[in-house]
Symmetry: C3
Subunit: 240 residues, 3 copies
């Protein structure tokens, strides 16, 4: 299978290294780009168009076909937009604890009301058009299934997240009707947002229409805490 | 233990073969009848009375006692009715991702509103008093944890489901008060219906009154994707 | 790690023996007191103050610091109150299928409305200021993942639960603001209360503010049915 893995906020393509290792060892092809705006040299003013263009270019420049396009977290919104641009190149979309955004909404519109003020305060504290997570939030909310060393190593990879692109309303008309099969890969111990207000599944997944559900144990950062398990589940989610 | 396994819509008794193999190897007795109306020679006009009579006859003709009566999916409604007829023959009822129907309702009354129109359209397309699932729906919605070969082999076993019996209002007064212990065996990755509208547990299970909850990973068709695991959980659900 | 394990209703400190064995074998220190009012010689009129004093005394008399304070079920309310008394002695609080009570509420205020009458009737039947669970309820509702012998052995350990302390309104102002990290360890097959009305997670856990979520398979009595698994998860929940 040919995977293109789209990372989430604060992450970069290298965060998939563990997963990539297991997928490649099983004979799969893996592309894991760093999105414009992410990584150490990220531009806070990057637009969603630049982000989507980068992934579309990767597919077109390499003439990639039969792609299993995977989006993690923020990456879900990218997958949706790429699918609208180059549906014929995709064999399946896989959303892994990922946003599925409604037409005309922005990614930040999906953030639960009880979380938004703290998020806003962090952004204002940064003051440079980015937001960074405190380690305590990341350790218990994102890496809750990892030991402290794994959580620290994961956090060391995180870089400030550009804010502007996540406030852009997204044109997603036609997404529901795209003839590209879709899967939702749900790590069930994700504790990023309050479960009483928000859920990846069925909250986000229900926006996909018909989809294949694949579930596994693990936190939002299961790509760090259990890369082998996640690789197996990506195959389950991505296969025909 | 003495199991009587009642299959669901589109299935027949042979669909339990994998599960039966594991149960018998562990020393249990297994009966897995094909319900009237199902299988290749099924009569679309079969009534619920005929279906229930067939299972009651199986128990009475064989003088079966201490039966662990298991219903999968549609089979849950059959278990309810058989239990009202011959409660003294039952040691326990087990509902496995199965309907628990309210007194006076029909099985189809439990189908979520968002799904009913598509279901209706499929029935009208068949035009012979049956309904058949398209493979795509079965593969991603029912067999989401299976590989493609397993899903295809399972689908090859499915036969058209008679419609009439599932539109009959069922007389289920007294079911709640039956002194037969009950278990709900919930395969947690079932994706047959939209999770925001419908759940086997707690949606259906909550109608049982006091019950034993047993959960496992797996799709609606875990009898095909993990028959050994399901056999183990049937023992957990069925034991005293 | 230094664990102090606070048991729930009907239990005593010895109910942790299996868990203690595994934790100590892994090099951890374990204290598992029997709360005043529980055990064979329990006084039905025991007050919540006496209960909390007993745990505070244990920590102060032994000059215990860096304590991972674990509460199971009823024990959650005890952990909350102890934390308000001696926060500096705690490294983390762990709530395991445990109540998290609101300021001014009593433990019994959290019992779902559909369950309260049956509970009341059992209490009146006892007539001595205690309540005892019938075995059938305990076996299917509390020990649903255990075999019959394990359920019977567990039930043989249960003793009548004093009622008065669970009707006391608790002074819990300031609990949310305590600078003690908190985890919720959720055994996902718990079937003590109707899932449509009540959940440990996210129902109770959502009252913790930010917390680490740890989940495992198992019933309310996973301390009996899988003590090794619970010990592992207590370490995951309690570590930094």
């Amino acid at each position: 299978m040919r995977f293109v893995l789209v990372h989430g906020s604060w992450h970069d393509g290298g965060c998939w290294d563990g997963v990539r290792h297991h997928l490649e060892a099983a004979g799969h092809e893996v592309h894991a780009p760093t999105l414009p705006g992410n990584g150490p040299a990220g531009d806070p003013a990057v637009t969603m168009t630049q982000v989507v263009d980068a992934v579309v270019d990767l597919l077109e420049d390499g003439d990639l076909r039969d792609v299993v396009l995977v989006g993690h977290s923020f990456g879900g919104a990218v997958v949706q937009q790429v699918a609208l641009r180059v549906p014929a190149r995709l064999r399946r979309m896989v959303f892994h604890n990922a946003y599925v955004v409604r037409d005309g909404a922005a990614v930040f519109d999906e953030v639960p009301a009880s979380v938004a003020p703290a998020f806003q305060a962090l952004a204002e504290a940064a003051g440079d058009g980015t937001v960074m997570l405190p380690f305590e939030s990341f350790r218990d909310g994102f890496c809750n299934d990892a030991d402290l060393d794994t959580a620290r190593a994961a956090y060391a990879r995180m870089t400030p997240e550009p804010l502007a692109r996540s406030t852009e309303p997204l044109a997603l008309a036609g997404f529901a009707e795209l003839p590209v099969p879709r899967s939702y890969l749900h790590a069930t111990d994700d504790n990023v947002f309050p479960a009483a207000e928000f859920s990846w599944h069925p909250g986000m997944s229900s926006r996909l229409g018909a989809f294949r559900l694949v579930q596994m144990h693990g936190s939002h950062e299961v790509l760090f805490s259990d890369p082998a398990g996640l690789a197996d589940k990506l195959v389950e989610a991505g296969r025909d």
